[in-house]
């Protein structure tokens, strides 16, 4: 949690009137190697607050809901809080073939705590990379994003994999 608060301070400390924050929403799928969390396919929905709308490197804070959909179970739902950092942004890149539109390659790193709605289950921490993340001007597409899962005492317990995640800005 401390990391999230530190990041939030950095994200919003240098705002002026020309650097308006942006709100975006995301939907994606994820799976986990550690069936203690869930063996199911899960859907994740995010709402994010970026510190600067026009800056591709602006960090963002997000809240998330994670629901098992295959098989469907609301009892194994989690909510999460985390941050996302874009590492760099390139306009000429290898993955340009992957989109009909002109894109920027903008890999990102994210970290988040996830808490169960059912108190009988354990919370967990996820550090994830989005190596194939393309910015199309008003949205991001992330493909095959791996993550490391940690228990609440920060022992690594497995990995996560998100086949895809789509992010759209509210404008």
């Amino acid at each position: 949690m401390l990391l999230i608060f530190i990041c939030s301070g950095a994200a919003f400390s240098q705002q002026d009137s020309s650097q308006k924050p942006a709100i975006s929403y995301s939907a994606g799928m994820a799976g986990f190697s550690d069936s203690a969390f869930s063996a199911a396919e899960t859907l994740r929905f995010f709402i994010s607050l970026e510190s600067e709308r026009a800056n591709p490197f602006a960090p963002s804070l997000f809240a998330a809901i994670q629901v098992d959909f295959n098989p469907l179970s609301l009892q194994t739902a989690y909510w999460g809080l985390g941050f996302n950092l874009t590492l760099f942004s390139l306009q000429h890149h290898f993955f340009s073939f992957a989109s009909m539109r002109k894109t920027s390659w903008a890999p990102a790193f994210s970290a988040a705590f996830y808490f169960p709605f059912d108190s009988a289950k354990n919370s967990y921490f996820e550090a994830a990379a989005e190596p194939i993340r393309l910015f199309t001007g008003s949205s991001y597409v992330s493909l095959l994003s791996p993550g490391a899962l940690f228990s609440k005492n920060f022992k690594i317990t497995g990995y996560s994999l998100s086949p895809f995640k789509f992010t759209y800005h509210f404008y």
Partner: protein, 171 residues
Amino acid sequence: MSFFIFAMIAPPSVAHAQETAISLGSWSFFSGSPGVFTSLGITQGLTPRLEAGLSLIPRLTPEPFEDFYAEAHLGYSLAANRFQGLNQPASYINILGDIGIIAGISSIGAPGQTLKKSIFIRLTPITLGNAFYGRRDRIYSAGALFNLDSPSLTFFLNFIISDFFIAKRSN
């Protein structure tokens, strides 16, 4: 079966359309043990409306490659031509119907290891893009699998399959 084989090995010059795409997508099986599957394959245009595809479908979570399937299908664009030449735009939006076979091994290396064979039909209510644009997304494809070993009907969903066309138009 022989038609499938012919469809996959026939040189493009035999057919009216020459476009080839690499496909990446998700597979959600609503039977068997849950987990995330992805698909990686190729699609080949055969006529302005007919196409063929092949893909490999490994399980990624919770145990990578515990299940491994391969599928081959024929697809028919139901709403409009999907291809009218690389320099002539076909309908951006389309509907796609597929029929195919899927076979593979589940629980690889485990006592319950089994070979599975099924035929399937699939309807993609929305496809966006085509070879003219260099990319096509097949969205919310829903299908039914008929198991040939122990006759039963199950269902599957492809949230998204993206086709990245290898050939680009000249203008």
